[in-house]
Symmetry: C2
Subunit: 504 residues, 2 copies
């Protein structure tokens, strides 16, 4: 019964991590303002306990015993996968000194507050010392984790196992070459962008986005949708996976694409096999993000797939605009499906990453990746960031950044110690097209998309992506599902087709 002992210890740790996730969800969605301090302590205690148990003797012995017991069992067996995946996570965790983990966690709270203050006051200098300390700690973490070519590799790998800075630079190069002419062509299109800013009552936005999310396959019996400032998805096992949107009356994308994006993440978590739902770590241990999927990039591929490949497709709006118009008859009286399709796909260089369209989004990511790789390697100094940001934005999008709020201070990531996660957004975009193309090679999927039946696509994703949880590496998953390694070809093809559709 040694595998059983392993399994029950992992289950206990997962229960604690799920409680951490609920404490986190509640803090962002429900908690009264007075609860902040106590909540921080509760989370810290549970995280500390989970880490103690994960690196403790009980689990170590259980892993060794389970390996012995399973020595004759084939590698693909779920039990073997579970044991090896846990062993890997723990080994990575064990390489980082506990004191360093603690210091990073403490700094996170202080630095996030400092960042929020600095952003409000457009005061980069006030935030710089925290950012320097944060980068120092991330360099130490990178050194503890170990790397061959570049310290950034160690950090990127915690979000995207196996990814390197050198490979990222190749991918970025391919994308940059493709995006530049596409963006030039797309910018010529003229659209009435004010259509998205008209007054759309929040309750109706919620109803419409929920309805479509259900049709996509997000299961509300195992989830719920709430309103937050920053949309997110979080799970407490596959049977309770919650999403949030950002419903604002005059910002329709929050009630449409943000919800479908999070529903895409949610379907991934809801689709993980029961085999992996309690017996494999469902939370990333180093960064403490609740990811039951193979990687951050893989997860993002699922959100982007539903948001962009499906939700921003011409066919989707041919099929669904009528219903949206019925929901908002006055607001959309002068708009038709084709115009709406164009409006939600308009490409316009802007300062803010989270508001970026498909053609410029990755350029924001590349800029950040280059800066953080340089910071971690010690080639870029914190004090030079505002100017460097301006320079790179001018280069990438031809824009003059007016102040640091619209520049280097816009993202929370660095203050949270999240260095190396930005690339996973672009990896997710790339993968989304690969998965989507492979799925569409199946007749049922393609004809479903054509008629508005999204269940064949969802079933394909369940089978080829979701169910495997973290039991495959992102690349194994991609190769098994699509027949090829990570490659920009499908993504560039999708973006090219979209630009052509917009031009026609």
């Amino acid at each position: 019964m040694t595998y059983a002992a392993f399994s029950s210890e992992i289950a206990r740790i997962n229960d604690i991590l799920c409680a951490v996730n609920l404490l986190t969800w509640d803090a962002r969605v429900m908690m009264p303002p007075g609860g902040t301090d106590a909540r921080g302590k509760q989370i810290a205690t549970l995280v500390g306990l989970a880490r103690e148990m994960a690196t403790g003797d009980t689990l170590q012995r259980a892993i060794e015993d389970a390996r012995l017991e399973l020595s004759g069992v084939p590698r693909g067996d779920v039990r073997v996968l579970a044991v090896e995946q846990a062993a890997q996570s723990i080994a990575a965790l064990a390489r980082i000194p506990a004191a360093l983990v603690g210091e990073a966690a403490e700094l996170k709270t202080v630095a996030q507050a400092a960042w929020a203050k600095a952003r409000a006051a457009n005061d980069f200098a006030g935030f710089a010392p925290m950012l320097e300390r944060s980068m120092d700690l991330q360099r130490e973490i990178a050194a503890s984790l170990g790397y061959t070519a570049h310290p950034y590799d160690a950090l990127v790998s915690t979000y995207e196992p196996g990814m390197t800075w050198s490979r990222l630079q190749e991918l970025y190069g391919e994308l940059r070459r493709a995006l530049s002419p596409l963006l030039a062509q797309a910018r010529e299109a003229r659209v009435r962008s004010e259509i998205l800013d008209r007054a759309y009552p929040v309750e109706k936005q919620r109803a419409f986005s929920s309805l479509v999310s259900s049709r996509f396959g997000y299961d509300f019996d195992r989830g719920r949708l709430d309103d937050t400032v920053h949309p997110f998805e979080i799970s407490f096992t596959r049977s309770d996976v919650r999403i949030t949107g950002r419903f604002r009356e005059t910002w329709l994308p929050g009630g449409l694409f943000a919800v479908w994006h999070e529903a895409g993440h949610g379907m991934y978590e809801q689709g993980i096999s029961e085999n992996f739902s309690r017996s494999v770590f469902t939370t990333d241990f180093i960064n403490l993000y609740a990811v039951g999927g193979a990687s951050f990039g893989t997860h993002e591929s699922q959100s982007r797939l539903w948001e962009n490949r499906v939700g921003r497709s011409r066919r989707f709006w041919e099929l669904n605009f009528g219903e949206l118009q019925k929901t908002f008859p006055d607001q959309l009286a002068d708009v038709d499906a084709e115009e709406f399709f164009r409006v939600v796909n308009a490409a316009r260089p802007g300062f803010i990453r989270v508001e970026a369209d498909e053609l410029t989004y990755d350029l924001h990511i590349m800029l950040r990746s280059e800066i953080e790789a340089g910071l971690i390697a010690g080639e870029i100094r914190v004090k030079d960031l505002p100017d460097l940001w301006r320079e790179k934005m001018k280069q990438a999008l031809g824009l003059d950044v007016p102040d640091d709020r619209l520049g280097v201070l816009q993202d929370v990531h660095w203050s949270s110690g999240m260095v190396g996660s930005f690339p996973t957004y672009t990896i997710g975009n790339i993968m989304s097209s690969q998965f989507f193309a492979a799925a569409c090679r199946e007749k049922a999927v393609a004809s479903g998309l054509d008629t508005g039946d999204y269940s064949p696509l969802k079933t394909w994703l369940n089978t080829n992506v979701h169910q495997h949880g973290r039991s495959k590496s992102p690349n194994e998953l991609l190769v098994d599902a699509t027949g090829s390694d990570l490659s920009t070809a499908a993504y560039i093809a999708d973006l090219t087709r979209k630009v052509e559709e917009m031009a026609s």
Copy 2:
């Protein structure tokens, strides 16, 4: 630094228990239906961990070291109180074999489900085996805890430290003698009870009850109000104390008295001193109820005080009916303050405890206490309960119970293994009058109640009751605050005055 070690270990345990409370709140207020099973496991894991830590060597050593360190410190010092209170809780917990705790926890889930099914089907026989098992376990728990006179004492003491069956019988006797003529007199009053069943829009009920709760002193910056089937209060430290009501359009009491009742519980938790908010167990360990107060009875005294002593007083409605009428102008057009006061105080014997008025409520409690004391002593057999219930209801209230749904199957308590908690409702009623009378002896409190300024009363309760948390025994608290032991005199005086007001 030995007290510090003790304090930090207790804080860790409390953090876990607070997480359990959040998992519980969420399960009852927010969780999608699919989450049930996983949630049960998460709670079981955290409870198990908290129990392991509470009975573990680390805490035991910390307690011994802290005792040595504090050996010269006076008994009233908060550190001494904290150490001794923890030692007591742990000793009680340690007396119950872990296997028994586990079995009771497991049975609870199964038995609650069996009870819900049996109640729906009016099938006592189907529930009887579970109830027998539940009573067996409670008898074993009583034996483990130990007692002098009666096994029921051991169970009652887990909710109300120091209370005995013999003392309860004295109190019950006094109350019965007083209630009987009062009830006879009160039943003669004729009121239009349909006033409470008119259509009162839920949102307005919520707004009015929130407004009054705020005026009473419930702090919404450290709390929130939601809607549930069964109203409750739960806390995750003093800085986050949530309450729920039962808002139904045609049941105004759910939007008034149920909310103020829970707000009374909430103010107790919000008022506990910072000294005790993280360094003393804030959750009852054996029954796992989140009680930061001295006992269940003391807690109930605070909810009853605001619900009945204040919220059902004539002066309260003289001052506040106008505002209620403004909130519901059509529904209350034909009602005045005096009639409303009479309607919400009308006494009518009924089958259901949770719908009972002040004059009959305690009779429901006495009936249950006598039955459970008899069950635990082995003097009453489970199979005889339905008939015994009928007999006792006829005796107590002159009612013929038509079926077990309106009889022995109405309460969830016994299926949950809560034997010995019913008496705390009556103890709470008794104490509420004692605290209220003592508070009103202060001029500021009395004149505040007369003018609608509730802050002097709340401040008195903060000072004399709330702040002490669990650092005093219920009787110490009562004597220090009111000058006397538990006594029915003030409660009987209040009920008598009410009946006279209704008759005049």
